[in-house]
Amino acid sequence: MTLPKDFWQGFRDGTPFILVILPFGAVFGVVATEAGLNLAQVMGFSVLVIAGAAQFVAVQMMVDNAPVLIVLAASLAVNLRMAMYSASLAPHLGKISWWKRGVVSYFMVDQAYAASILKYEHTPDMTPQGKFAYYLGVVTPICPVWYAATWAGASLGTAVPAGLPIDFAVPITFLALIVPMLRSMAHVAAALVSIIGVLVFAALPFNLGLLVAALLAMMAGAEVERRISLRRNQP
């Protein structure tokens, strides 16, 4: 079986993220090992959960000896955004077979979602199968590197030099993903409401501030779009 060109296009678009996934995964491996987890448990996190931010929250709360249920609630709350990604991808990937949707769900990481949704919106004539191939292409360079980097961090441990600002790899990638998305006033409005909202609702527990901010931002984007199209349709 030869891989379709949509796969290779996704592969090419996913490759730069290695630069981010590598330090992020390695840092998780180091932090989780230093917290007292063994190699199997550290790898269990990266393979079964495959969501960096939630994994960091879980390990941090385990270090603080929070009750098991609280650890689960707080780290799952960080991943609530995945349900929004799932809804956002459904109009594009809802028509593929159920097992393929199961595969898409497992590999649903921020970078895969962001790269794919950008591509889908720029290329409306893509078939659902093409969209699926593109998605697989994006995750192919990302997810194996995530596992390998976690393993390297957990095994090599403190060999990673301390004091370097590698934590900032994540915001840099996200900025590289967000800026190309700001292509209309509605998108800019949504992004601004998201930033202001997260600061205003920062005091809410379990990361719920982000969720409230995101819902308000989606409403802002939708409302601005509606008003712009109303104005356009006036005689």
Binding site: T15, P16, F17, L19, G36, G44, F45, L48, V49, I50, Q55, A58, M62, V68, L72, S75, N79, L80, M82, A83, M84, Y85, S86, A87, L89, A90, G94, W98, R101, S105, Y106, M108, Y113, A114, E121, G163, P165, F168, A169, V170, P171, I172, L175, A176, I178, V179, M181, A190, S194, I195, V198, L199, L210, A213, A217, M218, G221, A222, E225, R226
Partner: protein, 109 residues
């Protein structure tokens, strides 16, 4: 950390299963049914609604500097946005942002 092996694996498997169900949720339920236009209009803004809010605290209050504003990280964030605007290329943006981050780090520390 004072967790038993069973507790640790409960957290790992529970978080893995819960995350998977969140990811599957709408993709699994909606399938090939069509969504009303107003729902689609909201969903179009999911990415720009979630991601800026996610990184805002990481940029303004980094854990590594105990939550205080850090000129290295703030400078790198501004440079990344500018490079992204100018080049419209994800690879160049990520390399450029990382280069500015490390340059500022070694200049200012």
């Amino acid at each position: 950390m004072s967790f038993s092996t069973v507790q640790i694996w409960t957290i790992i498997v529970g978080l893995g299963l819960g995350s998977y169900l969140l990811r599957l949720s709408f993709l699994g339920i909606i399938g090939n049914r069509d969504l009303p236009e107003w729902v689609l209009r909201h969903l179009r803004y999911t990415a720009v609604a979630v991601m800026p809010g996610m990184i805002t605290p990481l940029i303004l209050f980094p854990t590594a500097t105990e939550g205080t504003l850090d000129p290295v990280r703030l400078g790198a964030a501004v440079a990344t946005v500018v490079i992204s605007f100018l080049t419209r290329n994800a690879t160049l943006t990520i390399f450029g942002g990382a280069a500015v981050l490390f340059a500022l780090h070694f200049l200012l520390h």
